[in-house]
């Protein structure tokens, strides 16, 4: 199980911001999320959305260990 965190407009779109999801890789996780909520799946793949695994930005595919924290980060606005 990975812990998935959504921020900003992604959380508003999904209607949740913190959920446990069964997935062994980032692409697998994207597939699960898109299967449940296609609009969210599209938004997660949209321009400017970055992904952090265990608080480190990753690009492309990555394996997920049990207990990994995966955060989807829309474009940052600054404070």
């Amino acid at each position: 199980m990975a812990r998935v965190l959504l921020f900003g407009r992604l959380a508003d779109l999904a209607g949740w911001r913190d959920r446990a999801v069964e997935a062994g890789s980032l692409n697998g996780l994207r597939g699960v999320l898109a299967g449940v909520d296609p609009a969210l799946g599209e938004a997660l793949a949209g321009p400017g959305v970055q992904v952090a695994v265990d608080k480190t930005i990753v690009r492309g595919e990555a394996p997920l260990a049990a207990g990994s924290e995966v955060a989807f980060l829309p474009p940052m606005s600054g404070g």
């Binding site: 900003g8 407009r9 952090a52 608080k55 829309p74 940052m76 606005s77 600054g78 404070g79």
Partner: protein, 151 residues
Amino acid sequence: MTTPSKIALTSEPFEPGALLTAFCAGRDETGAVASFAGLARAEKGAAVALELEAYPGFTDTAIAAFADDAKTRFGLQDYAIVHRVGRIAPGEAIVFVATAAVHRRAAFEACDFLMDYLKSRAPFWKKEHGPDGGRWIEPTAQDRTDAQRWD
């Protein structure tokens, strides 16, 4: 200076003056303390509240990495950064940055530099709540221009 430089994210209102008092204490070799307080604007009623989301453990780490580089770049003795998260009412402080240096040029430039980063590139997500609801916003063109001054 032995004072550790400090970054805090807080969901509670804070008082910039109290932070400045603490930051200035015991500085008999500092010379220059520049500071900046960003306050939420009411926009004559068009802004009901500002909502800022951070990713604890990611946002503060990113800010610390940037600020420690700035400390070296400008030869700061010390800095302090306090950033509000959550729902912020007009007039309340959003951010406070203080920088300490021997001379004022370094203190001013570092404070300005840190603010440009915090306002344009730091990992926050910002929602403006108006009378007709909320909307997520992105950096302004001015924010990008300000940040690029340092590249």
